[in-house]
């Protein structure tokens, strides 16, 4: 095996942090593809050129996604990375694996690929880095025979992902793991056979802490929330204060809606003003607890910058019950796709189409009534739409009030 001199990437091994270079070098001891990837990376750093190209026709028969073709222009110099395709494996809900499952994945990958992995990629999938075209069908056969499936890529529903939810977290407002699994099963066709104008991502968080960052990374964010009050245990509040928490600085002053007060003894919350951001609950776990009906808020449209700048998701459904078989949610998703499909040009994300066509057109298209809670940013710009009929009714009401002197509210 050729030994590459790597002074530049060696710099990335210094310092107290784990280094991907160290891990690549470990893999390179036993794998020619990983070894060439190390040499290739050093050359990229030295010449400040990427040399990678991606896309094309690689994949497994019948699937339109799950494999992303990657090729190096330096195939003659580094034959191990001439083909270096990425394979995405559909991750389990909440990223829970047994050691045996991880070993199984790695054993297969060591046999047919570079041995390098990315757990997890930004899409959520378990990403296997670097294999050759002629190994793809065999890799797919090996994984699928053991119950694994490929993830998604291209103009498709990307592999849905969710936070750990009820598996490990007491704050979750719905079963993110079950919903993630249910949507993955329901939309197999949309995941594996690219049919949209561009990618569509669904991410699920059990509460507003939003551990999968769905508000910024998913075209559709399903974020857990609740309808009731925040229950306060004043004894535990006292304990937090006794143990050194500066409640005014860390909780009261950081409440985005300023709905909390603390007089040094009791903590009070004006629940009508609370936007359920989770800050206080996550800081004072033992003292504060959400109560009442649980469900989720649906937001739409976030994305990273490509056609237009990056966007955060907008609220379109402030509260929806999230319970099996999730019929209401699945129907809503289908309506959203239909509107998007009818209005999008190639490579336009749904958030961009909403920006261009307007939220009014979108809400009409999916059959949602405009309501004040459909806001772009909490507490900043609520908006409402008035149709000509609304205006006519308003004018008639105004005229009647003027005439009779009786005002209706």
């Amino acid at each position: 095996m050729k030994k590459y001199d790597t002074p530049l990437i060696d710099e990335l091994e210094k310092g107290p942090w784990p280094s991907f270079v160290t891990e690549m070098k470990k893999a390179a001891k036993n794998n020619e593809m990983a070894n060439d990837a190390v040499g290739h990376l050093e050359k990229c750093y030295r010449t400040k050129v990427g040399y990678w190209k991606h896309g094309g026709i690689v994949g497994v028969l019948g699937y339109g996604g799950g494999v992303i073709g990657r090729y190096s222009e330096l195939g003659d110099e580094f034959p191990g990375v001439a083909h270096f395709h990425t394979v995405r494996l559909n991750q389990p809900s909440g990223f829970f694996y047994t050691s045996a499952a991880l070993k199984e994945i790695c054993d297969i990958w060591d046999k047919y690929g570079s041995g390098l992995t990315n757990v997890h990629g930004s899409t959520g999938d378990l990403v296997l880095l670097g294999t050759k075209t002629d190994a793809l069908e065999t890799i797919f056969a090996e994984y699928s025979s053991r119950g694994w499936d490929l993830g998604s890529s291209g103009s498709a529903l990307r592999t849905p992902s969710c936070c750990v939810g009820p598996g490990r977290c007491e704050w979750t407002n719905y079963d993110t793991l079950d919903l993630n699994y249910a949507l993955t099963q329901e939309f197999q066709d949309e995941i594996h056979r690219p049919m949209f104008s561009y990618k569509f991502k669904i991410k699920m968080s059990g509460c507003a802490c939003d551990c999968v960052a769905s508000i910024a990374r998913a075209d559709m964010s399903i974020i857990g929330t609740w309808k009731g009050h925040i229950e306060v245990n004043q004894d535990e509040v006292k304990n937090y204060a006794k143990n050194g928490m500066d409640i005014n600085a860390e909780i009261v002053n950081m409440c985005p809606t300023q709905c909390i007060s603390y007089d040094g003894k009791d903590l009070k919350i004006n629940n009508a003003e609370c936007s359920r951001c989770m800050h206080c609950i996550s800081k004072m776990t033992k003292a504060l607890k959400a109560t009442g009906e649980r469900g989720a808020t649906i937001c739409i449209g976030s994305k990273a910058p490509i056609v237009v700048g990056s966007l955060l998701s907008w609220v379109i459904v402030p509260f929806i019950k999230v319970e099996p078989p999730y019929t209401e949610l699945k129907d809503l998703i289908r309506k959203i796709w239909e509107w998007w499909d009818d209005n999008a040009k190639p490579r336009e994300r749904i958030g961009e189409v909403i920006e261009m066509k307007g939220m009014r057109s979108f809400l009409e298209g999916i059959g949602q009534a405009p309501i004040p809670q459909q806001i772009k940013e909490p507490r900043k710009d609520p908006f409402m739409f008035y149709t000509e009929e609304d205006m006519a009714a308003f004018k008639a009401k105004e005229a009647e009030e003027k005439k009779t002197g009786k005002y209706k509210f």
């Binding site: 994949g59 028969l61 699937y63 075209t133 049919m195 190639p346």
Partner: protein, 82 residues
């Protein structure tokens, strides 16, 4: 319309667009269903079968996917021709 005949029509539709336009799956569904006055679902079923057996294939470039007629290289790689 017989499935085989419909699949030939779909193939001809893709062949006509070859080198001119990257066809999305939706373009084929709308184009062929309008041309033949068929339901989109019928066209979709026929299209999916063609993709399953490698008569058509998905391609990918710049983040967007399209449906294409496979190259000989692809068919050879999948063991469909020698």
């Amino acid at each position: 319309m017989e499935m085989a005949e419909l699949q030939d029509k779909i193939f001809a539709f893709c062949e006509a667009a070859k080198g001119k336009k990257k066809l999305k799956e939706k373009d084929i569904l709308i184009g062929v269903s309008t041309e033949l006055s068929l339901e989109k679902d019928e066209v979709k079923k026929a299209l999916r079968e063609m993709i399953n057996v490698g008569r058509l294939m998905y391609s990918y470039g710049g983040g967007a996917s399209s449906v294409e007629i496979p190259s000989e290289e692809y068919l050879r790689e999948k063991g469909m021709i020698k």
